[in-house]
């Protein structure tokens, strides 16, 4: 009996440790964002006073709202574009028999092995060549390239598990490939689409290196770069309060998205792994 309680206690202790380790940094950011003045540098673990000054100042300061809109625009478009390309590509990769299909799949997977920094210089040239430097399109272009391998791979695996007879029944019913994708496969693939879409959104939302390199003006930057470049009154002052407020503002949408789609994600991550 005592042993059972100890086991239970140990289990919840472990859960507590994991929760604290993963949540504490964010909690401290929220805490800090409500502080002002010299309070910022006093260590406390509970809110003592709540002030929205930091939020007001960051939202009224220069181009931050514009940066948030940039981020939303870029991330949303990346998701839409990547999902569209990935769904059509994975239909071909999983359903159409052609020479070199396996090789193509491996190549797609191999693309995701290259570290961002390795392709940075080359990609910069491409973006200059396309004339989209310092526009949101530069980011949409580069993020889509980096998201596609993962998205295509996951959706191909998922689509391969859809019964072939359903597709054949649709062909007999007179459906074209596009109709099959849109009206038969897409509704069956919602969990996979939501999961990959959300992961693509998060990746695009958090991306820093490309955003720093491919944009140069305040009005085209996305949020991660904008936060890093937030500056205080002088070179020697780092506006911690503003930075924390900005961080909280950009985290909230992600948390909301994950909470909304959480059930779908769970079923999406396990679907395809086990049949049924």
């Amino acid at each position: 009996m005592a042993w059972a309680y100890t086991k239970k206690a140990a289990f919840y202790l472990l859960v507590l440790v994991i929760v604290v380790v993963s949540v504490f940094p964010f909690y401290y950011a929220i805490l800090t964002s409500f502080k002002s003045g010299t309070d910022l540098f006093r260590i406390t673990y509970w809110p003592t006073s709540i002030s929205f000054d930091n939020y007001l100042s960051v939202l009224n300061q220069g181009s931050f709202p514009r940066n948030v809109l940039n981020s939303i625009f870029v991330s949303t478009l990346v998701v839409v574009l990547a999902l569209f390309l990935a769904v059509t590509a994975s239909f071909a990769l999983s359903r159409v028999r052609f020479r070199g299909r396996g090789l193509l799949l491996m190549t797609i997977l191999a693309v995701s092995m290259f570290p961002q920094i390795a392709v940075l210089a080359g990609l910069f040239e491409v973006i200059r060549g396309l004339g989209i430097y310092n526009t949101p399109w530069a980011l949409i272009f580069s993020y889509t390239i980096f998201t596609l391998p993962f998205t295509v791979w996951v959706l191909t695996t998922f689509m391969r598990d859809l019964p072939i007879e359903i597709e054949e029944a649709a062909i007999v019913d007179g459906a074209t490939p596009w109709v099959i994708i849109r009206r038969v496969f897409m509704p069956l693939m919602w969990p996979a689409l939501v999961t990959t879409g959300l992961l693509a959104f998060i990746a695009a939302w958090n991306e820093f290196l490309f955003a720093l390199t491919f944009t140069s003006s305040n009005t085209t930057r996305t949020v991660p770069v904008a936060i890093a470049l937030l500056s205080g009154g002088s070179q020697y002052e780092i506006p911690w309060g503003n930075i924390m407020a900005a961080s909280v503002i950009v985290t909230v949408p992600l948390v909301a998205l994950v909470l909304i789609f959480q059930r779908k994600i769970v079923s999406g991550l396990t679907a395809g792994g086990v049949k049924g």
Binding site: D173, G174, R183
Partner: protein, 335 residues
């Protein structure tokens, strides 16, 4: 309404030839059953007719129109799959209407009318709002058949539609398909099965396939009474025809003779063959007695009612006159 003509149809997957030159006429409004052991190419042949698989060589025509290059929907076929293949996210109504909604300019009223008509025929009107997962296996298969009826096809194809159902349901659905054929006299039906009972009970004509070639085509009774080869003789009829060869067949002036269990009688004396009863199966209505007469496999004799012959008993058996099939060395009948 469609007469299907196959002229020297061939199909290869890579280097493997699966259909090796099939020529066959399927009459308009006929119920044709393809039957054969697994791997004989019967499903492939059905898929070639459906258009889901491309024909490697040969010519296929519906009512004289060559259809080799036409897509399934252009051929005017509908197909019922073994695994039902219903769209899981659509209700029964949507499943049945899907094909019609893809046809441009079909008025909604007509779609509704046709779906309801098909649903009534199959008694699934009460389930129209349900999803496939809320239905039993038999109901799902009826929806799949209903989906095919709704499209009002020229040719109705069945790919082993009963093999996922349990025994009782299989018989019930078999009768329903027979009724369907009665009520759709204009529609040509092609049905694939490995079960010779389904073939015998449903078919107007049966096509027995073996290794990608047609072995024999004929009405069920033709195949039963006048098989063109030992293969057909062994495949049609249950239990399997008894084959006796070598010395035991000498009296019939043929290398091999075949006699069905129902055409053998047990006599007190003066039998053609004799041997010991090694096993008996009692089904109540009739019984099967396995007799070891010295041939490779025991001879099966069918008797009415419960058997009176115990295991170990020595019996004499003889065929009924005119019911003996004689085969030459190549397995062809001697008539």
């Amino acid at each position: 309404m469609a007469k299907i003509e196959l002229k020297d149809i061939r199909k290869s997957f890579g280097a493997v030839e699966v259909i090796k030159g099939v020529s066959l006429d399927i009459r308009s409004g006929e119920f044709m059953v393809f039957v054969g052991p697994s791997g004989c190419g019967k499903s492939t042949l059905l898929r070639l007719i459906s258009g889901l698989e491309d024909i490697t060589a040969g010519e296929m025509s519906f009512d004289g129109q060559v259809v080799n290059a036409l897509t399934p929907s252009k051929r005017g076929i509908a197909m019922v799959f073994q695994s039902y293949a219903l769209y899981p996210h659509m209700t029964v109504y949507e499943n049945m209407a899907f094909g019609l909604t893809l046809e441009k300019g079909k008025p909604k009223e007509e779609i509704k009318k046709r779906v309801h008509r098909a649903a009534e025929m199959l008694q699934i009107s009460d389930y129209l709002d349900r999803l496939p997962k809320q239905l039993s296996g038999g109901q799902r298969q009826r929806v799949a058949i209903g989906r095919a009826i709704t499209r009002d096809p020229r040719v109705f194809l069945f790919d082993e539609p009963l093999s996922n159902l349990d025994a009782a349901l299989r018989v019930a659905t078999r009768i329903e398909i027979a009724k369907l054929h009665e009520s759709m006299r204009d529609t040509t039906m092609v049905y694939v099965t490995h079960d010779q009972v389904e073939a015998m009970t449903l078919a107007d004509r049966i096509c027995v396939l073996r290794d990608g070639l047609v072995e024999q085509v004929g009405t069920p009774m033709e195949l039963y009474e006048k098989p063109d080869s030992m293969f057909v003789a062994g495949f049609i009829g249950s239990p399997k025809m008894n084959f006796i060869s070598g010395k035991l067949a000498e009296g019939f002036n043929a290398p091999t003779v075949g006699v069905r269990g129902e055409h053998l009688v047990i006599k007190p004396s003066d039998g053609v063959w004799s041997g010991e009863v090694i096993h008996s199966e009692n089904l109540g209505s009739d019984s099967y007695i396995y007799v070891n007469v010295g041939s490779e496999e025991p001879v099966v004799v069918r008797e009415d009612g419960a058997t009176k012959h115990a295991v170990g008993e020595h019996v004499e058996i003889a065929p009924i006159d005119g019911r003996v099939h004689r085969f030459d060395k190549a397995g062809k009948p001697i008539r």
